[in-house]
C-alpha cells in the first residue's frame, strides 16, 4: 500500500468533515450546503465563503475532484485519497465518542467534591 501522509489533514474541522461526508456522491456547491444542514440536523450550516475556501483547499490537496458540470455549477466528489482521510477521521470520532460515552452519565450527576 502506498504510504501518503493522510494523517496530516487530521483532525478535520467540523465544516470540512461534513462537506466531505456530503461528497460521498457527486454534488455541486449548493447541494453540499443543503445536505450538510440536513444531515447535521441543523447544527452545521456552511456559508458560501466558508465552502469556497474548503473546496479550494480540498481540491488542491487532491481530496476531492471535479467530476462534471450542471448548468454552470461544478460537481465535486471524493477521490480515493479523500475517502481514506474521511475514514480515518471517522475512526478518530469513534474513539472520541467512545471516551465521552463512558463518562457522560457521571457528568450529569454532581461531582463528588461538591457534596
Amino acid at each position: 500500500m502506498t504510504k501518503d501522509k493522510t494523517d496530516k489533514y487530521l483532525p478535520l474541522t467540523e465544516a470540512t468533515y461534513y462537506i466531505m461526508l456530503a461528497l460521498i456522491e457527486p454534488l455541486h456547491g449548493y447541494g453540499v450546503m443543503q445536505k450538510v444542514e440536513q444531515i447535521s440536523q441543523g447544527t452545521v450550516k456552511v456559508g458560501p465563503g466558508t465552502l469556497y475556501g474548503v473546496f479550494a483547499t480540498l481540491e488542491k490537496e487532491g481530496l476531492i475532484i471535479k467530476v462534471k458540470e450542471e448548468d454552470r455549477r461544478k460537481c465535486y466528489a471524493l477521490t480515493d485519497k479523500g475517502r481514506r482521510v474521511l475514514a480515518m477521521q471517522i475512526q478518530r470520532l469513534e474513539i472520541m465518542h467512545a471516551n465521552g460515552a463512558t463518562i457522560r452519565k457521571n457528568l450529569l450527576e454532581p461531582a463528588a467534591d461538591s457534596l
Binding site: A15, G29, Y30, V44, K45, G47, P48, G49, T50
Partner: protein, 174 residues
C-alpha cells in the same frame, strides 16, 4: 420617475470591514441602498423603500475562471453580488426569518479571510519599509519631509497589521 441618488464620502480602515457592513445595513434601513462604490471611500446610494439588507464583505483575489464559480456559490446561497473594490467583494441579502446571514460560518474560515488581508498588506508594507531603511542618499537626514511622511504611512501599516492580528486572535477558540 426620477431615480434619486446620493453620494457619500466615508472612510473605513482595512480592519473595519464589520463597521462598514453595519453602516451599509443602516443606510438600507433608511431607504438608501448601495448602488456603487465609485472609488474607495466614495459610496453611491439609490433611494428606495427601506429594506433590511445585510451586507457582507469578502476579501479575496482570484482568476477570472474561478470567480464565476465563486459568484455562483454566493448566488445559490441567496447573496446578491454588488461589486469588487480593491480586493473586497460586496454582497447583500435581505434579512428574513430563517435566512443564513453569514458568508463565513466558522472561525477557521473567518481567520483565513483576515490572513489573506494580512498577507496583502504585508506585501504593500515591504517597499515602504525598504525605502525607510534605504541609507544610500548621502545627505542623510532622518527628518526630511519625505522620510517623515513615509515613516507615518509605515507606522499606520504596522498599526493596521496589529489590528488585524488582534482580530484573528479574537476569533481563535479555546
Amino acid at each position: 420617475m426620477e431615480k434619486k441618488t446620493v453620494r457619500k464620502f466615508k472612510w473605513f480602515w482595512a480592519w473595519q470591514d464589520e463597521a462598514e457592513e453595519d453602516w451599509l445595513r443602516e443606510m438600507s434601513n433608511q431607504g438608501w441602498h448601495l448602488s456603487q462604490i465609485v472609488f474607495p471611500t466614495v459610496y453611491q446610494f439609490n433611494a428606495g423603500d427601506a429594506q433590511d439588507y445585510v451586507y457582507r464583505l469578502d476579501y479575496r483575489s482570484h482568476w477570472k475562471m474561478e470567480k464565476a464559480d465563486y459568484l455562483q456559490l454566493f448566488q445559490d446561497a441567496g447573496w446578491e453580488y454588488l461589486q469588487e473594490m480593491a480586493g473586497w467583494h460586496y454582497f447583500r441579502k435581505l434579512a428574513r426569518q430563517g435566512e443564513e446571514l453569514e458568508i463565513y460560518t466558522d472561525a477557521e474560515s473567518k481567520i483565513e479571510k483576515y490572513q489573506r488581508l494580512l498577507a496583502f498588506l504585508g506585501i504593500l508594507a515591504l517597499p515602504l519599509f525598504l525605502s525607510l531603511i534605504n541609507l544610500s542618499d548621502p545627505p542623510y537626514d532622518w527628518f526630511s519631509p519625505i522620510r517623515v511622511i513615509i515613516l507615518l504611512i509605515f507606522m499606520l501599516y504596522v498599526y493596521a497589521l496589529v489590528r488585524i492580528l488582534l482580530r484573528i486572535n479574537q476569533l481563535k477558540r479555546i
